[in-house]
């Protein structure tokens, strides 16, 4: 606070001093001012760039005593002492401009209750699209996990599809949270599930429907119990969470432009977990 007040005071003095100085400078050096205005435009552009690159932070921090969180500059790994590495690990691309730590809480159940390794990727500027090969190049860095499922939220989901499109053998399953594929994956031979939420006002439904042709044949279901009891390869499972919204797929609070959810964040996380767990089980992943 003291620094902030000092900063404002200093700037106040600067503005008045600059104002006094500007008049003779404009008179004597008009060309200098023109050149400086170009610089000013660049500075304004940088400022605007800054405004559009703010990320969402996690609302709450996960403090489960059994959860082991290991973090590097490249990813965050969630595990427990009971982690079973014969099961597939879950790799995840965060949504656009969302801090990766905001996905610890939604995904921690896979580590705590399903004994899986969960890996949340850190991406440049919190924009997964800038690192669309990161998941496929990370799989061989985790020595004790042989099989991986890739997922992502929003922009992260679309990035996951790009990564799988370019590296079709790297992953054994794909899950999309409020996302769609812009790449042609209709013939891919891995199980795919797409989960959306009824009060999501961020996801463009037109684009979602238009891009369904990029994924295998659609199978709509309303609950995990309606999943088939056999492999879903060759189908895309679509599940819409009633009452959920876009931001509640993560744990970063209200997102600008999103709808108002009628279920809690914890409930939405639980519904995603229940559905994905069953999906992974029936596909033997």
């Amino acid at each position: 606070m003291i620094y902030a007040i000092g900063f404002i005071e200093i700037n106040y003095f600067h503005i008045t001093a600059f104002a006094r100085l500007l008049k003779p400078i404009i008179t004597k050096h008009p060309k200098l001012i023109i050149k400086m205005s170009a610089t000013l435009k660049t500075l304004i552009s940088l400022f605007i760039l800054g405004l559009f690159s703010c990320s969402y932070l996690p609302e709450t921090k996960s403090e489960h005593p059994n959860l082991i969180i290991k973090e590097t500059a490249e990813y965050i790994i969630l595990s427990t002492i009971s982690t079973d590495n014969s099961q597939s690990g879950i790799m995840f691309y965060p949504g656009g401009l969302v801090d990766p730590h905001a996905y610890i809480k939604p995904l921690e159940k896979f580590a705590l209750e399903d004994n899986r390794t969960v890996l949340i990727l850190k991406v440049a500027s919190n924009l997964a699209i800038l690192n669309s090969k990161k998941a496929s190049t990370t799989t061989n860095k985790i020595a004790n996990v042989d099989r991986w499922i890739l997922g992502g939220h929003s922009l992260g989901g679309s990035t996951a599809c790009i990564d799988i499109f370019n590296n079709q053998d790297a992953f054994e399953g794909l899950f999309l949270l409020a996302s769609y594929s812009t790449k042609e994956l209709a013939d891919i031979q891995i199980p795919i599930i797409s989960i959306t939420a009824s009060h999501d006002n961020v996801l463009d439904l037109g684009s979602l429907n238009e891009n369904k042709v990029n994924l295998p044949e659609a199978l709509m279901i309303d609950s995990p119990e309606l999943l088939p009891n056999e492999s879903t390869i060759g189908k895309t499972i679509y599940y819409n969470i009633e009452g959920g919204n876009h931001g509640q797929f993560g744990n970063y609070g209200a997102q600008k432009g999103d709808g108002d959810a009628t279920i809690t964040t914890d409930m939405q996380h639980l519904l995603v977990f229940d559905m994905l767990r069953k999906f992974l089980t029936i596909n033997d992943l």
Partner: protein, 173 residues
Amino acid sequence: MKKILLFLFVFKISIATLFSQNIELNLKSFYGVWNNELSGYYYGGGEIEILYEQPLLSGALRTGLAFRSVDWGNQASINIGYKTAFIVRDKWMLNGTTTAGIGMALFYKNPQYIWSLGFMPELTWLRKKRMDFNIGIGFRYTSNPAYKNYGAINQLFEFPLKLGIIYKLKQTS
């Protein structure tokens, strides 16, 4: 007393900025070797920086704005530096810049204060034209104290590699 000294320092730099002779546009790439969680190589992100430079009798003062991709997302900072020449030849110059930066990690609702300190030796190609070019590699320490509430990594030690374009506002010899 500290506030007065800070004010005088920033005021002097800002006045000098107004009369700066050069504008410099820098692109930097950061190669990390240490953070407060572990040691080892990692790619630390990129930065775009624009600054004014005011030559002094000895060295130069420079101040500007930088926008950077970093471990915690994006950050914007005001960088203030002092440049000193080590070797000057007809066509090139070896100089070093010590830079301090203060700014914000860009988050909705809760932007966080960040600061950095660094030093970078630079090799400048003196073309005797309006534009010069330089390259440099140095080291920088960056800290985002409040980010420890969210993630494990909030301090970085990196080697920035820089490519710069210097535009002289006023032709000098």
